[in-house]
Symmetry: C2
Subunit: 332 residues, 2 copies
């Protein structure tokens, strides 16, 4: 485990180096924003605060603001808001994971946890929104409420398609654009909104975030197929076991033709968590699914870097370029 983890930490260290002090300030603001009057909430939020995580979303807000003219108090409010929203969605995600892991009759404890997760997520979301309302950051509110809507729509569209297994390339991009890229896009847009009135800067920052988010998710979906054991996160083939059809499989089916694809879909329909999915992984590999998906991720990453050229050269721009390269070249 050591090597890759160390590598990832050192890469993130490099990315966030130019805004290191600002990120420390962010952490203080974030901690304050989580305070409540309910002990159960404070226990939950202090647990969340201890987990730390990579803070990639606030880092993006801080870097794009720096790129566009400089960090100011509004930038910090935006960074706290996106992290509260991100945390809310993680807590809401947890509702399902817990159900999944349970065995036998769901215990009172598990039901209790599910209820608490929904409520804690709602609480964190409203705290983030209140921050923007009370500071009159209405432009943030407009983009963030639209993002909440897109994230839920994207997840629901994926859920619908997971049941029917009829997802095509266009729908795949709609799903990942809404469920993943929308929040990354919003982080970069909010950074720009807080720091500049230049409309081209704002547009490019926003589009940059969208492309970064898309390539990140495609790479994530590729990594689900690669390697023989996976060191972090989900095990290899996890998506297939959940009947999630992602870009590598979509491309492989395009290349293999209708008859072969039909057989694969039939196989996935009958799959369960315990089944071996090696033959499907092999199908994706031998039909160029991984190669084509990687090419797509790299293509979008290049477009993202291209958009950064509008900004003057700086350590912030370098950081973002470095992040883009890392996102599509990472091994975990």
């Amino acid at each position: 485990m050591g090597n890759k983890e160390t590598l990832n930490i050192s890469i993130m260290d490099k990315v966030l180096a130019p805004v290191k002090n600002d990120l420390a300030e962010f952490n203080r603001h974030f901690k304050v924003s989580m305070k409540s009057h309910v002990r159960l909430l404070d226990i939950a939020t202090s647990f969340i605060l201890k987990q730390k995580g990579k803070k990639i979303r606030p880092t993006l807000v801080l870097l794009t603001a720096s790129l566009c003219g400089g960090i100011n108090p509004r930038t910090h409010r935006g960074a706290v808001m996106v992290e509260l929203l991100h945390t809310a969605t993680l807590v809401h995600d947890d509702v399902v994971d817990q159900a999944d892991k349970r065995r036998g009759f769901p215990s009172i404890n598990a039901i209790w946890k599910n209820k608490a997760s929904v409520l804690i997520g709602d609480y964190l979301l409203s705290k983030g929104l209140m921050l923007s309302v009370s500071s009159k950051d209405y432009d943030f509110l407009e983009t963030i409420t639209d993002t909440v809507k897109r994230m839920s729509e994207g997840e629901l569209l994926q859920l619908e398609k997971t049941r029917k297994l009829d997802i095509d390339e266009e729908t795949y991009f709609k799903v990942i654009s809404d469920k993943t890229a929308s929040l990354i896009e919003t982080c970069c847009y909010i950074g720009a909104l807080s720091a500049t009135e230049n409309q081209d800067f704002r547009n490019n920052a926003k589009r940059f975030g969208s492309l970064l988010g898309l390539s990140f998710q495609i790479k994530d979906d590729i990594l689900d197929y690669e390697g023989t054991t996976k060191l972090f996160g989900k095990p290899i083939g996890g998506d297939i076991k959940e009947k999630k059809i992602t870009l590598p499989l979509i491309y492989a089916m395009q290349n293999a033709g209708a008859a072969e694809s039909k057989k694969i879909i039939k196989q996935i329909k009958g799959i369960s968590q315990k089944d071996n999915v090696d033959s499907i992984i092999q199908f994706v590999k031998s039909n160029n699914g991984l190669k084509m998906a990687q090419e797509k991720a790299v293509e979008l990453a290049s477009q993202a870097k291209e958009l950064l050229k509008i900004f003057p050269s700086s350590e912030y721009r370098e950081s973002l370029e470095y992040l883009v390269d890392f996102v599509v070249s990472r091994k975990s």
Copy 2:
């Protein structure tokens, strides 16, 4: 079933008579507000729309606006927003109920429904907020985001206390003020905000909503103890089986003294869904818990009606007075 249901419908008909046409207009707006691009969402929302319900919250927005000067387009936006929020919380509540009803290993279907419920709730909440952002109804946003926060805090505080069984009268009022009364308060406040600049009108409408919400919840908690079978909603004693300590029991324990109360708490600690709770209901009755709780509900209802006297006499004021009386005198 027929009689009581008919009675309730005719009472609600009487309450909403002065804003009947406006409510029809509200229904059209509400339907439009639910439209999405995701089929799964449209299926869920059309199911929600079919259930109809009493639409008490938008009715309150419309009645208080009428009371304060008249309904306008902003009133209608406010009514749609509160109903979207209310629906979102109902859908989120459903996450737990479904878990509760399941037997054996949670099926993929049940997990899927839980995940969908969380996401559909998030979607409806963001739609409501977006409506206010895009119309620049920032005063609505301020009150509604605070309400979302209070509702989740109130539910979480109740959840915490349900585990520890150490709820007192003050905490009970904090819980019901946040989880139930806050949204009723917001409905009346938004109605007033949309229709008048008069600060006394706005304050009284808001406080009226709060008192109405409190007496509504106390009566609901009383009804959980009354009768031998309950025609609608939860069965008799449902709260106790869920270890929810509400006002009738709190008062009964105050009257019975420490030793008796300790025994009752011990009994509740060991209770399960299948247990007979007649002895606890008897304890509450014989220690005047129901009587005192009813007196409290009536007292708050009188205060609510008192606040309406600031408004000129009208059919709208009469409707609201009638609603207050009904809330504390209803039998189901």
